[in-house]
Amino acid sequence: MADYRLTDTDKFVVRTKADPHNPNAGEAWIPNDPLNMDWVEYQEWLAEGGVPDPYVEPPPPPPTEGETVAYDHENRIRTLEGQPPMPLPDFMKRVARKPIKLF
């Protein structure tokens, strides 16, 4: 595993290497800002031949309580209509939640 991983946007890169003095810290989201020293360090790492890991699509989030209620409701209607129940993954695709990009 490389020290960094790409994201689905060029606005960020994720630093995956651990901080030996802060083992509880998670991955660091480094913004594409030439004034950010972590970004500067990433650029230096690239210049030295570093290759980041590719972007990995995160697994779909588990359904929320509301989505579970809606899913059960959908299948009750389908049962009344004489249709087979819809698989949960298909339902989640239809109601897919996507993070809002604010900036």
Binding site: T7, D8, T9, K11, F12, R15, H21, N22, N24, A25, G26, E27, A28, W29, I30, P31, D33, L35, N36, M37, D38, W39, P58, P61, P62, T64, E65, R97, P99, I100, K101, L102, F103
Partner: protein
């Protein structure tokens, strides 16, 4: 009217002749104490270029770093970091701690904390020529700007601090720039002496202005503009710097550099660090007043590093906040513990938002350090 100055004055002694203005003795002569609009000396604290000079804040690493003497730079206290290169790392802890030795210390309760570096294992003789041991303070260009360095009308800068070391010796404090591409390194190294072991000593020195090179050499905006580096040990190849002159950056210390970390339990403590525009610094007694209010200091530090607690409940929520203090640059976002399903944060110098699937409480760090 003639003044009858006291004979055999001591360093820092004040004298106010009847009907006259105050004078202070700074060997070898008496100097007029500048009037500062009637403001108390503590008002000068806002002019202190150094942040966290009293080492009151160590927000990221708490009480410090165990065995931080490695080839990394770590902010063991806010704005203070290790700056070392050692081929064979020794065993040194860097910490933020109470000012304990000696009791009572000469600055009463004015400085409750200090930055400590202490050998807990084998010491070192800096066997590799390129080794060095630094305590480093990075200064944003906008904080260096009042000095006007790089220009003909630049003014001096006066450094003051308290130091405590378990051994006597000579150490070097370098004031340096961090030039733009195409600029030149400019450094001024001055040697200080620890005269007595295990004793808090007050030190002061005025760096003359560097009057050429403009902003190519001395950047004045929200980037690294200056460095203040305390060197407490160096290999033979790191002692080539000419003291008391503005010169290129050749090495990290001067030929007079001593090794303060030769043996187990050797320690160096620093506190009360100030760098004031001008040639007048505080006396030992005045240094106790040169402190910004705690809350103000904290706000200034939040420009470089800040943390929040946020709660994702139920799962799949945005957490958004606006920083009370605009950060120096767009910060790096880290969570503790690692937030499973943390999506792209939307982050800027003034606000941030993160989106997480994992429900629970998360500690988020925003890092825009120099």
């Amino acid at each position: 009217m003639a003044f009858d100055f006291p004979s055999s004055p001591t360093e820092g002694q004040l004298f106010t002749p009847s009907g006259g203005q105050a004078y202070i003795y700074r060997a070898p002569a008496w100097e007029l104490v500048p009037k500062i609009g009637g403001a108390p000396f503590s008002a000068l604290a806002n002019n202190n270029i150094i942040l966290n000079g009293g080492f009151d804040f160590s927000r990221e690493y708490g009480n410090g770093i165990t065995n931080g003497w490695v080839n990394y730079t770590y902010p063991f206290c806010d704005q203070w970091s290790t700056g070392n290169r050692v081929a064979t790392p020794g065993s040194v802890n860097f910490s933020h701690g109470n000012v304990a030795p000696p009791a009572p210390h000469p600055f009463a309760s004015a400085f409750a904390f200090c930055g400590k570096s202490q050998v807990y294992g084998a010491g070192t003789s800096f066997p590799t020529a390129s080794d060095y041991f630094l305590i480093e303070h990075k200064i944003e260009g906008s904080r260096m700007a009042p000095l006007g360095f790089g220009f003909a009308n630049a003014i001096p800068a006066t450094l003051s601090f308290w130091v405590y070391a378990s051994v006597t010796g000579t150490f070097n404090v370098m004031l340096a720039n961090y030039p733009e591409s195409g600029g030149s390194w400019r450094t001024y190294s001055h040697n200080f002496t620890v005269n007595a072991a295990n004793t808090w000593e007050f030190k002061s020195f005025t760096y003359p202005p560097d009057t050429s090179g403009g902003i190519t050499n001395w950047k004045q905006h929200n980037v690294l503009g200056g460095l203040l580096e305390f060197c407490f040990g160096a290999g033979s190849g790191q002692k080539g710097q000419t003291p008391d002159a503005w010169v290129d950056w050749v090495t990290n210390s001067t030929p007079a550099q001593s090794n303060f970390f030769a043996s187990v339990n050797n320690a160096v403590y620093l506190t009360g660090v100030s760098l004031l525009p001008g040639s007048v610094g505080p006396t030992a007694a005045e240094s106790l007043q040169l402190r910004r209010p705690y809350a103000e200091e904290q706000m200034l530090l939040q420009r470089y590093w800040h943390d929040y607690w946020y709660i994702i409940y139920p799962s799949s929520q945005w957490y958004m906040s606006t920083q009370l203090t605009s950060m120096r640059a767009t910060p790096t976002v880290t969570t503790d513990p690692a937030a499973a399903g943390l999506y792209t944060g939307s982050v800027g110098p003034h606000s941030f938002g993160v989106y997480a699937d994992a429900y629970g409480a998360h500690h988020i760090y925003l890092n825009a350090r120099l």
